[in-house]
Symmetry: C2
Subunit: 144 residues, 2 copies
């Protein structure tokens, strides 16, 4: 049951990250947003969703919470009022740097070599790509 192994590994990562992040008042998905913005720079909600494989119905409330805690700013785009630009605030950027220490701790917890982790990551990425293609195929078939 590959699906269950992925599910259980996801639960395990989530719990470990919550433990490591609870001093920063950050959830694991919020941590991912912070990292995505640090690596990709400011971007709109849609682009953030493409990076994290999430949609606005998940991101909008999450980003509002992060805005409320002062980590990101949300600004309507002047050129296209439909678009909302998300950017790290100064405290957000600072926190993004501070939590750089967390992923190495997680890597250590895996008890795996860097080589093994890289290989496993690549396999998971291609697996997820295939699953997404299949899911999208099903969706498109239902529409037409």
């Amino acid at each position: 049951m590959i699906c269950f192994s992925v599910y259980a590994a996801g639960l395990a990562f989530n719990r470990l990250y919550q433990s490591l992040l609870n001093g920063f008042d950050l959830t694991y998905p919020q941590f991912l947003v912070l990292v995505a913005l640090q690596q990709g720079g400011a971007m709109n909600v849609g682009a953030l969703g493409e990076a994290l494989f999430l949609e606005s119905n998940t991101l909008t409330p999450l980003l509002k919470r992060m805005e409320a805690s002062g980590l990101v700013s949300r600004q309507r785009d002047k050129m296209d009022e439909r678009v909302v630009q998300i950017a790290l605030t100064k405290p957000g950027a600072k926190l993004a740097n501070t939590i750089g220490c967390v992923p190495p701790q997680v890597l250590n917890a895996t008890h795996m070599s860097l080589r093994e982790v890289v290989a496993l990551t690549a396999n998971l990425n291609s697996l997820a790509d295939n699953l997404r293609q299949h899911t999208n195929g099903l969706r498109d078939a239902n529409i037409s």
Copy 2:
């Protein structure tokens, strides 16, 4: 970022399963419960939690929903009134057989050979084991 790859693969599996299961009025975690009970037979909430890496705060409401839809029974143990035994009902057992067709479809969607899937599953299981040990170590350190 191994954690993100696991996270994204989990999202992808969840979406694919929701698509495949939505004709059965089942969520993905409910599907996992059904399979666990089919494979392990009737068991109490704690044992189910060990099998699925979940606790009563997640399982109790989920099992109540499955009881409401007639798939499982919940019975206080006569010998120890604290424990609640969970068993498949006849419709639940029937549905568990019916959805046996779903995992092969998922395997097909992975576009991976059985050998690759088995190897990836083993790697994920040992990874999750290591993460759980580390998380439990952190928890115990905080208690003492």
